[in-house]
Point group: D4
Chain length 218, copies 8
């Protein structure tokens, strides 16, 4: 387990991270962490590593793109001084290109996505013990689907940045693809974007694998 | 225009037909016809053929399969004595096979679908002036998608029945496919099943074409 | 079709345009365009001209008079830089003279209406590719009704301005009058002002006629 | 004043009488009489004739036609044993012919209206001290308006029955027409059917005039 | 009738005047005048003097004392430039002395009441055509009841001011006392302060008497 | 203390007893006993005599008269087999004579009140260990007030029955009168009937005095 | 893994099982399984064994005791024909003895608990492939706490029955006790009964361990 | 009785004091004092000492620690100029250490608690006639429970300050402990912190004992 006693782990991202978390602060009592993978990660940590006292904070915000993350990075990430930071962003950067194709100023294209993401990683690396970059994903198994292909471009950017800067990396798309060989996409998510509990479980377990969670504990 | 003065046109189907229609009777004042293609058909008829006084009734019910239609056929279709009847059913018959694959009693397989649909057509034909059979559809352009292929099987059954019994026929899937060459599926429907206003406009115009609506009037 | 690839079409007006549109921006996902003729125009364009990618924006506001339009013209029209602009205003300018006759500062009389409308047209003409002026209307067929006569005065002002400045012109009152020879006013609107779906269909089709929509497409 | 000490005065009718009265019994505490002319009549009687202790009951029901009245006559009128009964019905009998012209079974035509009304008067006359027949009305001053002419037919039937059976008679249309020479219809009612407080005041005062209310008391 | 064509009549006071009026402006469409005596006065004027076009405005505010009135006098009275002003205040000035006797800063004692009221009358007299001073009242017939006696003190102050400054005067307590000889207080008001429709009718008719309303019109 | 270990104490009455108790059973968790004197009695017993385990049940029902009590006596009292029963009824029997004087069938006059009350006492006495009869009360100190005098008649009937049958007796009116010499009625209750917490405290303490509560415990 | 392809796994119990599941059937789309350990079990199975197609059904009902389970056993368990059945019951059987100690008919004492539980196991064993008995638990680490000791008695009965009938057994109390050595009870549950997500994770993982879940998959 | 005629008694504290009091000012009509011990204290004073006219004010705020009290001390205590002040604080200072152990900045440790509390007492003593310090409490009878022990530390600090500064002192924990020997903690409070009415009665009576309330009055 890479996390140590009393460390703070902060998650930032879009609606998949948000999952109805409490506001303004995404931590505290009574489902403050929302109903998604962040809450599951916290539950796993408390159940299996209660002695570590890991503090989990959820700062996801529905509808966000990487452009929105940069705008609130100081208040929502830096001022909270996390020891570990997990980023999962890109869904809306891509989705708006497909569900509102005519509103072009809502689209965050690959160049802007990479440049912005890179700025965030660079300014944050010196401030944390560890960084986890999670790819965005799309629950569409057809490799020639236009939006699937576009999402893979963004996932490749995340992978490239993780390699360049030596951070931890979570390939969420690959994790989902294993299940999509057995289950139709609509079983996991009504809109191919927002998964149900099974999908959040996949995200949580993949994340925990990356930070060295021991499944034989607790 | 095939419909004549003072005739009653009844629509039956699932949530796409229902579209929040009034209950128990799907006609009357203030959006009694719902927010979907049925309401648009009625608007076109009133705007372009006000002198005909066509009476439109919406008896769609969300979640229905052809199995459900048969159960309420006497009260919701026959007792209302329509002159014209339009049927669009099959979405849920297919969808449940993909979004709740483990609950098998919710699945209406092709054999049951065809047999039930046939019984409904046979008992109704002698009672009406005209019957319009509309295929179910799925807003997924990938021809090898499992659910798309399944939906086409059901559409083919509708086409076969229309030909056998000589009814009017509306190929909704074909109408959508023309638009899907230009717009990504998510532009038209968040779940590839329930279209927005543009999709309902496509349904309404395709239906009206089948009954001989003259676009140069009004 | 006068509109070309990728152009933005903005509608401004009162409650008939507004029709429960999204706020603050009248565009985007999930009925952002409201439930009225603007949404129908957008649906027709997407269904028949999907390859053009026309971007439709609804900035109607319930209760507005031309005096209100001028106050928000910079933020709600000019800063959004539409290629095409459609204006339908005047209902409340007239109605307040009849439903609250004693509150005289709510009345926008013909002189103020024309002067204000003229200022808006003049400052906007250089900024857009095309302008569509739609008359206000009243669903009362009796030619000697006091409010009907007053509304026609305002409609005549709109026609005069359209001719003077060479803009496109939509005579909504004339379009409704054709249907009112067959249907009683209360069939179309409970208050003779806010039409149901049939009335909005009339508005949408009349508007589309003015911009050269081809009914034999799609 | 025709009413005497301790008598019960019951009103029956449609939404104009109902006016959000309490259910199931239209009497008691806290606005049990609704917000319309019945409540005003009661207020006048309590304010000017408190010593009489007149008991006012409101059994109006929104949407009713004379056909509906007959169905609930035994429970809602006869079993309550009023000393005086006031009837105002006919609005919906006529209105449905104009706002939902295609749903013909909702229309109560003049012959049915007169025959039903006559049956109600004949069976009730022996049971009460006095009967007040109020005409239905339409707040449209144009004498050639189709619905106005139709409403006058129904008013004439009420007048004829009042004369035949020697009951009290209230010509509500005439009372409104005096005001309509000064105020536009929309000032009194947004739909020309449901008046605001001023219209209910006209109804109440006209009714009270018919039963001999002394305006110089109280 | 003292009021003339096109004049504006403004009412100010506490919850009895307020009666759920619209905010911020107590005039306009759809029960903007509330459910109390102000709405009834307006209804009487429209029904009997429609040709005068009297504009009625309700600026009552629940819970107010004369101290509160003075604070909002400029915005809520003077800036609205009424031709006629009616004031009914004092209920809460007295009531707080009895229902929250220990919170002494809520009590407006007679000296402050008179001084403040006098300032309001003096500054307003030059600005209006007429002023109507209505006493506060208490629906308790027992002359030795402590709160009744206190309320009469305040009523006497209003009478004295009306006489000194030659304004119109309405003795609401006297009007209620006539009815209270026949009806128990609880019949008129559950808390002896807020009357039902009958009580508001008494207030409206007494007010109208003071301004010369002709009961034989309309 | 007259109550012994494990006994059940049931309260029946009108809205003053009810006080928003839980339904259908007036006992259990989370304010099941309502917000009135019954809940306070229970709190006193738990706080001072926790070792006794007295079970308190509230079966009060708003609006009830003694006539209503008799109708539900079997299910709401007898089937619950209380050891001790407390009755406080009569408020509505009297109040309806004053707030709805014209609806005479709602009035329970003294003869009916006494006869019904007597039947209830006689059938219940053999089934319980103890019976507590509490008078109804009216928070009006004026001895010549009509409703106060009427309420005293009913209180006298309760006293007479308590003496005849040798039950415990609580003179609630006398308890309130002591406080009313210092506080105006409106301080205790906005309608002179439903007291606030102070009034319920008076009821609870007077009741507890009658069953021998020791104030020096706990 | 003991469960095989296409089998149905049904959970029955009280509020901890219920967790806001859908009604009447606890399966289907959109959080039909509630927010508790049942939903987590289903998520683990779908994520790690998607090829098995295990069908999970939640029939928990808040507030239930074993007495309530027996009453609905036929409809809620037997008619649904599960292959595997999991039972967790006893919390309320015990809790009512402590939070409503005076309402003795709500208490299910150990003898009744064991006898009823035994009847359910005996009639169900022949109908299923496997039975999982989960103990009730109490999140109180103090071994001398009265309710904790009582809960352990009930847990011991469950263990005894599991051994006698050779079913699978889950000691939930032991699983929680391991975590309670590190975390105070209030961290896991505000009332020591209803855990948050971490507590449900402990239940889910302990249950899955009993049926042979392989943590190294997925 | 230590309080004298017309004095103001202000309570400050956390949710146990707050108990849904009115905002912003915790005094006035209609349950302005909330549903807890403050309202009961007021009720006792009004019922037994109505002639004193004690003014009770509740300024409790849910979730507060002593750190929060200091921040609002000037506006919520000093500017209101109470004659007597009662303080009960510490529950949340302790609780956060146990229910959110990982969010350490929410914890108010003993040193900060004592120092802050001391500052508040010192600055307030010169401004009031009397000060009542009430200990925080925890409804857990097990003396070795970690949170119980911690709460006793804070209670000991309160006792020490009361002795040092010679204020009145209320040992709420001791008062509860007497009842906890007979009733299980869950009978008094679902979370061992927020008591029901019985617990608030214990607090109110213990407080009143400290200020010399005479239980034989009223």
């Amino acid at each position: 387990m890479k996390l140590q006693n009393g460390e703070k782990l902060l998650f930032i991202g879009d609606s998949i991270t948000d999952a109805e978390r409490q506001r303004p602060d995404g931590e505290g009592l009574f489902q403050a962490l929302g109903k998604g993978y962040v809450s599951l990660v916290d539950a796993f940590l408390q159940a299996s590593y209660p002695e570590l006292g890991i503090r989990v904070v959820n700062m996801g915000t529905s509808g966000n793109t990487v452009r929105d993350l940069e705008q609130r990075w100081e208040t929502d990430v830096e001022q909270r001084k996390p020891d570990w930071l997990s980023i999962m962003i890109g869904t809306n950067d891509v989705w708006r290109q497909f569900d509102t194709p005519f509103i072009r100023e809502w689209h965050v294209l690959p160049d802007e996505y990479e440049a912005t993401y890179r700025r965030l990683v660079e300014r944050t690396l010196p401030q944390v013990k560890g960084l986890v970059l999670m790819t965005p994903f799309y629950l569409e198994p057809n490799p020639s689907d236009a939006m699937r292909k576009r999402m893979e471009e963004y996932g490749a950017i995340v992978r490239k940045l993780a390699e360049e800067y030596g951070t931890l990396f979570v390939d969420t798309q690959a994790a989902f693809d294993r299940v999509l060989t057995h289950l139709y996409a609509a079983t996991l998510a009504w809109d191919r974007v927002h998964p149900g509990t099974a999908g959040h479980m996949i995200l949580a377990r993949t994340f925990l694998g990356a930070i060295g969670f021991d499944w034989n504990r607790g």
